[in-house]
């Protein structure tokens, strides 16, 4: 972590919480948790509300689909931490690792429904080129995604275009798979709040 305040500038209660997390999970506290708990009134509190709504709020996309979108956006942004973190959540949500792996390798050939494929392609372009046009959106709607599904996917994209940038800017430590598995269990059980 490139800012010392994000690593160790938390209050006594938060440090006690981190100690509890380390004891229960037997894993290090992920840097993303350290970030959202630092001066939570400024960023972590309001951002967690946005992300929880996008990832766990009402939507016809499944939790697994939305976590896959998060991993796909992270991969497009070349954010290693978020790619690994949300691949782990999506795999656990889907109950298989092949779908996530196939989508991150080549979304064009992955065995997923067309509305999801078209949505991922649009999110990839939006993240890579920082813009999309009406033709890109027509392609998603023509593939069978509803307008509401596109709006829901854009909310996921917003969250992970914030979080990925912060992970890379602040230099999140990328731990081993056990830590991400532990994080995935928590995010599926409790969400982002």
């Amino acid at each position: 972590m490139r800012l010392r305040i994000l690593d160790g500038g938390h209050g006594f209660g938060t440090k006690a919480l981190f100690a509890l997390i380390r004891t229960i999970s037997r894993q290090p506290v992920l840097d993303v948790i350290k970030l959202v708990k630092y001066r939570a009134d400024f960023y972590g509190g309001p951002m967690s509300s946005v992300t929880h709504e996008a990832m766990r709020g009402p939507s016809s996309w499944s939790v697994g689909d939305r976590e896959l979108m998060a991993a796909f956006i992270a991969r497009t942004n070349q954010c290693e931490f978020c790619t690994k973190a949300h691949s782990a959540v999506a795999q656990r949500a889907y109950g298989d690792s092949k779908t996530v792996s196939a989508c991150l390798t080549d979304v064009e050939t992955a065995g997923i429904e067309e509305p999801l494929r078209a949505t991922l392609l649009m999110l990839g372009k939006l993240t890579r080129e920082r813009a999309v046009n009406a033709d890109d959106m027509r392609a998603v709607l023509t593939a069978g995604a509803s307008r509401q599904q596109v709006e829901d996917a854009l909310a996921v994209c917003f969250s992970f275009n914030v979080i990925g940038r912060l992970a890379d800017a602040f230099g999140f430590f990328v731990p081993g798979p056990e830590a991400f598995e532990s994080g995935a269990k928590y995010l599926l059980a409790r969400g982002y709040r």
Binding site: L3, Y43, A54, R130, M137, A155, N161, V162, R165
Partner: protein, 106 residues
């Protein structure tokens, strides 16, 4: 207004309008990726355009220029939220144009 729009508005208002260590003008400039002096200008531009290329030196240059770590934290958060907001707004406008319908959800 949808729940997600309310939550996004609350986030933006908090980081741009309420008290913090960086000035409101500085936070708005970071959000808009416009009007900042070096070395913060380069850091904010990297956050917006290719965050994966940010190095220890980029952050160190910002703190060496006299900014506290808390100000750097706030500026980087504003830069990230600003870029994500521009992308979201661009995409939403494209969706409205494609659907040729009354905007919903905002």
């Amino acid at each position: 207004m949808s729940n997600i729009a309310q939550a996004r508005n609350a986030l933006t208002k908090r980081i741009l309008e309420r008290a913090a260590q960086a000035s409101i003008a500085e936070r708005r400039a970071a959000f808009n990726n416009n009007g900042l002096a070096e070395p913060v200008r380069s850091l904010v531009d990297k956050v917006a355009t290719h965050a994966y290329r940010i190095t220890d030196q980029d952050i160190a240059a910002a703190t060496a220029s006299g900014l506290s770590e808390d100000r750097v934290f706030e500026i980087v958060v504003c830069a990230a939220v600003g870029q994500a907001t521009r992308q979201y707004d661009t995409a939403f406008a494209a969706l409205n144009a494609a659907a040729d319908a009354t905007p919903r959800g905002e």
